[in-house]
Amino acid sequence: MIVPLEHLLILSTILFLLGLTCVLVRRNLIMILIGVEIMLNAVGLVLVGASAFWQQIDGQVMVLFLMAMTSAEVSISLAMVVYLQRRKNSIDIRSFDEMRG
């Protein structure tokens, strides 16, 4: 492996934190979903890197599963976006705060 494992872990941790910040700061549902995508892609990077580090195929198999799962999740969440847009004419999560207590 040409790139050391530490560099890879540092890069993907930065990516993960960027995604998490996006989820926490943005109020638009689509931007939140993009943040989640960035978090999951950081995970993919770690898996591929670790797979190369250990000279094993397992990590890459997991990346394939992860990608399949992510696309299922994206299609469900985009359906949710359409549904919420129709109900309240907004995908700003601040307009969904009926329940309190």
Partner: protein
């Protein structure tokens, strides 16, 4: 995949393929009751196969076990989903649910849960957990005419997606530290002498955050009351029982395998258990909505179950499984009563609306009262023995502090469990006559009620079963 492997996964295949078939044929034959019945039969047959048929392989593909423990969990989750379908008959008619979709999604959830509890590798764990989380995103917002359902779906989606990110990152870090997804080898990555131990521990911390979200431990519990309140009552029942139980049963063997090398992780869990019990209890006190109160009650009960998870070994395992089954009967039953009280426009859940309902609908109200008393742990109901066993296991294994906080929390809990009972029976009537309820609802509620009573007086059969299935 060999024939033996397929045969070993037969219960999960029945659930997953049955769900696919129901989804497909449901598009052509839009008969709600028919599909609910088919789903009920499929879930029951999966439970039957898991309970009676011996699996030829002990482990399939290095991902899923077919041990007695895994089979026991499959039976329990399949029966929970069967119960959910049974209680939904009238409810689905009221809200004009698409019968095929609803049934199919619930069956998928059962398949995901049973795979999760059977997982022996982190890949299997991830796939099982995601399989039913994705399904629950849809089911929570299933009632398309309800604004609260939409809001609950949104909240669960955002929190769930972040939890998925943490879970996947945790798994990736554990893999980077150990070079394997299989539990046994993956745990070797955090042995004391391991060079990559810090990375492994960071992975475990991420994993704990994700588990905290899924079983709503404080401080990751914020979504729980809103989602339970907004989701359809039968789905809230699944969320509070099977969805959490599956995660707990998946982590019980993992923590037991961890042994001495996981001292740091156990310290974090110890702290989480304390704040979960205390914060949950004090948040439940001022609630005036039955579903929200049950949500905080489930948070507190997860705190108790965390004690059993910490104790680990056969003592902790027995206490955990016994407690989980009893808690599921009572909580599912309580949500069943809410389902049964539902009208076309709303679910009766505010205490204000329940006032004096005990005189109009005495049978269902008495059953609800029994579930509340069992959750509070009042003898001779089963909840008392479950709590007694759990705290005793904690004391025997040197977790006296946790046991004392648990006993304190359950003493305080009597207040918030008695409040709905007082509202139902002892206050001036403001409620109005509701639907008399359907036969299937009565059947299920009576079943839960009898189980709570019978296991309180004679708990040996369940205790023996739990001892038998633990590895």
């Amino acid at each position: 995949m060999s024939f033996a492997a397929l045969q070993s996964l037969l219960p999960q295949l029945i659930l997953a393929l049955g769900a696919t078939a129901v989804l497909m044929f449901g598009a052509w034959i839009p008969k709600r009751r028919l599909w609910l019945t088919v789903g009920l039969l499929l879930a029951l047959s999966a439970a039957l196969v898991a309970g009676l048929m011996e699996a030829p392989l002990a482990e399939v593909g290095g991902m899923y076990a077919t041990t007695l423990y895994a089979r026991f969990c499959t039976v329990v989750w399949s029966l929970t989903i069967a119960a959910t379908l049974l209680i939904s008959f009238r409810y689905a008619d009221l809200h004009r649910f698409g019968g095929g979709e609803y049934t199919s999604l619930l069956l998928f959830a059962a398949a995901g849960m049973s795979l999760l509890s059977a997982a022996t590798s982190l890949i299997g764990l991830f796939l099982g957990l995601e399989a039913f989380t994705l399904v629950l995103y849809i089911l929570i917002a299933f009632n398309r005419t309800d604004d609260r359902g939409a809001e609950a779906g949104l909240k669960y989606l955002v929190f769930g997606a972040v939890a998925t990110g943490f879970l996947a990152f945790g798994i990736a870090l554990i893999y980077a530290a150990s070079g394997s997804f299989h539990f046994q080898e993956a745990l070797a990555g955090i042995q004391i002498e391991g060079a990559l131990r810090p990375i492994g521990l960071a992975g475990w911390a991420m994993l704990l955050v994700a588990v905290g979200f899924k079983i709503s431990l404080v401080p990751f519990h914020l979504w729980t009351p809103d989602v339970y309140q907004g989701a359809p009552a039968p789905i809230s029942g699944v969320l509070a029982t099977a969805a959490k139980g599956a995660v707990l049963t998946a982590f019980l063997p993992l923590l037991t395998m961890l042994g001495e090398s996981g001292a740091e992780i156990k310290n974090v869990l110890w702290l989480l258990a304390i704040i979960t019990m205390l914060v949950g209890t004090f948040a439940a006190l001022p609630q005036t909505n039955l579903k929200r109160m049950l949500a905080y009650s489930s948070v507190v009960h997860m705190g108790y179950l965390l004690i059993a998870l910490l104790v680990g070994g056969s003592d902790g395992g027995q206490a955990l499984l016994f407690y989980l089954v009893i808690y599921s009967f009572a909580t599912f039953g309580a949500f069943g009563v809410v389902t049964s009280f539902a009208t076309e426009h709303e679910e009766l859940q505010e205490y204000e609306d329940l006032r004096g309902l005990g005189y109009l609908h005495p049978r269902r109200s008495i059953v609800l009262a029994a579930f509340m008393l069992s959750l509070a742990g009042i003898p001779p109901l089963a909840g008392f023995f479950a709590k007694f066993g759990l705290f005793q296991a904690a004391l025997r294994n040197g977790y006296a502090g946790l046991a004392i906080i648990g006993v304190f929390a359950s003493l305080v809990s009597v207040y918030y469990y008695l409040r709905p009972i007082i509202v139902l029976f002892m206050q001036e009537r403001s409620a109005y006559q509701l639907h008399p309820g359907s036969k299937s609802e009565y059947l299920l509620l009576a079943g839960c009620f009898v189980a709570i009573l019978a296991l309180g007086i004679y708990p040996e059969p369940l205790l023996n079963l739990v001892v038998l299935v633990l590895p």
